[in-house]
């Protein structure tokens, strides 16, 4: 801890899925905090529930029980519509397969989250250009995803994640589809987001090298949290 307050508080989170008549528990009594400005890696074998936990923190899925407090808001209490608005303002998303819209340019992809912001056209342009400058893609504004490499696409996705200046950034296997060099670039960029911009990042990964960039690593196994080794902070 460095004296900062927790930005994410998870208390007794349980989540299960219904498959036919079968109830499959995915997360069992998860409790922990994430401090503002922290870079946390969630690791665990496939099916351990790490992506589900990430989805719950990001407000794209709902827990069966427990409390999820993000930046002072109990997101479990929000309706679907309120959650959508909350996500737009507070969460930046980075996906394994970038999930850019192929028919929009890099600029337009990054601009997407701002369409819900009520900013003027000029303000949006300024935000988008800043975000793309941070990820070193100022020269690729008009390029379509298909014209960019995997690493560049992921950098566009990161620009899209930070353009609204969200409270937290969630990343699901952000280097899972990249070669080693591109993966290093992305991890370096995420590191910069934490150290230079003070962003809080929660990253799901299988890759120990990626997890090594995080300040903390938490291990999930069969829906139960095991305290993992702490990285240098």
């Amino acid at each position: 801890m460095n004296g900062k307050r927790p930005i994410v508080e998870l208390r007794n989170i349980c989540k299960s899925y219904q498959r036919g008549n079968q109830n499959i528990p995915v997360l069992n009594d998860i409790t922990f905090d994430i401090i503002e400005g922290e870079f946390l890696a969630l690791m665990g074998p496939s099916g351990s529930g790490k992506s589900t936990l990430l989805n719950l923190i990001a407000g794209i899925d709902k827990a069966d029980s427990g409390v999820i407090n993000v930046a002072g808001i109990d997101i479990a209490a929000l309706s679907e519509m309120e959650l959508a608005g909350w996500r737009a303002a507070n969460v930046g998303f980075i996906f394994q397969f970038y999930n850019l819209i192929p028919v929009l340019t890099a600029f337009e992809n990054v601009e997407l989250p701002l369409l819900l912001s009520g900013l003027s056209k000029k303000e949006k342009k300024s935000h988008v250009e800043t975000a793309l400058r941070i990820v070193n893609l100022s020269d690729r504004l008009e390029h379509y995803p298909g014209e960019l490499s995997g690493g560049q696409q992921q950098r566009v996705a990161i620009a899209r994640a930070i353009v609204t200046d969200p409270a937290i950034i969630v990343a699901d296997e952000p280097t899972g589809d990249l070669d080693r060099v591109s993966a290093e670039e992305i991890l370096g960029l995420m590191d910069r987001l934490v150290h230079e911009l003070g962003k809080t990042i929660i990253m799901v990964t299988h890759d120990p090298r990626a997890a090594g960039k995080a300040h903390f690593i938490k291990h999930l196994d069969k829906g139960v949290l095991n305290a993992g080794p702490q990285a240098d902070f």
Binding site: A88, P113, L116
Partner: protein, 385 residues
């Protein structure tokens, strides 16, 4: 603005599929428009009928004549302004395939009843003056390249012999809905000839055309005329011109209904094709819709994307199909002019085209939109990769 751009770009992601779908819709709209125009053409005579014109014929059947002497009695009925009369001549020009309607009428009163036939004054005067003269509609004269002064011979079928006429007037329709393929000549010419050849058939007419003061009294006048000739040797059946024309349509009503059904079946088929296109597109983009939802966009935004794309494709097909309908209808109308003298694409048909395209666009998007909007984000994101 970006929504419109996205809709447009989405629509052309699979260009071949989109072009084929647009082509399909265009052809369906074209077929629908042509079939609706055929139906309109079927009813053209009814539509061109005036509410203040009545037709009186033999109550037994149209093929039985009425005495010429009824003319004065009909004229005396309250509310009657003009009485004209005529016979279906049924003559053949050179060959049977050259069919066009031809009548023997009393031209002065007939043209008083049909002001929609517009003549040049000198041609009208010549027509009224020359007992062997005949009038032809512009389309008919153009088709056979007749000019005023030309002699035309019709071979009689109902009235045997070769009948020689001189073209004295070419009329134009006051509106597009006026039949310009008619041929009519002096009833007196027919009657005088019959007196010499088949005297028993002289002084008899096939029908009376009657003008009334105003349409509101038409039913009283029809009743009064029929009452006048009740229990005579030739009782009359009088009805409005519209009802008279409808009696011909009703004989072929089953065909008209079949054409109408086919026109709607065409739309239903293309609706299924369009729905398939939209279902494929939405299924391929389900991950993107999940991304939109992740970023905070609501179901309405996604619905606008899917409906917008569907409506854009159907509207494009509609515009192309509607534009093509006009030359196609012109070509079809020229080829079929002897069956459909009036073959115009009506404003109503255009409205129906637009409505059909709108229904296609909306219907095709309903299920894909429901799926896109209702999918859980986590499930949608899982489809990527």
């Amino acid at each position: 603005m970006q929504v419109l751009k996205l809709i447009f770009k989405n629509a052309f992601r699979h260009r071949l599929r989109t072009f084929l779908t647009i082509a399909g819709i265009s052809i369906a709209i074209l077929a629908f428009g042509l079939l609706r125009t055929v139906v309109d053409a079927w009813y053209a005579g009814v539509e061109a009928s005036a509410a203040n014109r009545l037709v009186s014929r033999n109550a037994i059947s149209l093929i039985f004549p009425l005495p010429l002497s009824y003319k004065e009695k009909i004229r005396q009925v309250d509310g009657v302004t003009v009485v004209s009369y005529g016979n279906w001549f049924g003559g053949i020009y050179i060959d049977e395939k050259n069919f066009f309607p031809n009548f023997a009428v009393e031209p002065k009163s007939y043209l008083e009843l049909y002001p929609e036939y517009v003549f040049q004054p000198d041609q009208l005067a010549a027509l009224l003056r020359d007992r062997k003269g005949f009038a032809a509609g512009r389309k008919l004269a153009d088709k056979y390249k007749w000019k005023p002064g030309d002699t035309v011979i019709l071979k009689g079928t109902i009235f045997p012999g070769e009948w020689e006429f001189v073209l004295r007037g070419i009329y134009k329709g006051r509106t597009k809905s006026v039949d310009e393929t008619q041929f009519f000549f002096h009833w007196d010419y027919l009657n005088e000839t019959l007196k010499k050849t088949i005297a028993a058939r002289a002084d008899q007419v096939g029908f009376y055309m009657i003008g009334v003061k105003n349409p509101n009294i038409a039913s009283n006048v029809t009743a009064a005329i029929d009452k006048t000739f009740k229990n005579s040797l030739a009782e009359t059946l009088t009805e409005t011109e519209k009802a008279f024309q409808m009696s011909f349509i009703s004989m072929s009503e089953a065909i008209v209904i079949a054409i109408q059904l086919v026109s709607f079946v065409v739309i239903i088929i293309i609706m299924a094709v369009m729905a398939n296109t939209m279902a494929m597109s939405a299924r391929e983009r389900i991950g993107e819709y999940a991304v939109f939802k992740t970023l905070g966009f609501g179901g309405m935004y996604i619905a606008v994307l899917v409906f917008g794309e569907s409506l854009f494709i159907s509207a494009t097909g509609c515009v192309i199909g509607t534009i093509l309908t006009f030359p196609a209808a012109k070509a079809f109308g020229n080829e079929m002019s002897q069956f459909f003298p009036i073959f115009n694409v009506s404003v109503n048909t255009i409205y129906l085209d637009v409505a059909a395209a709108f229904v296609i666009g909306i219907t095709a998007a309903i299920i894909p939109t429901y799926r896109a909007v209702s999918i859980r984000i986590a499930d949608g994101l899982r489809r990527i990769g």
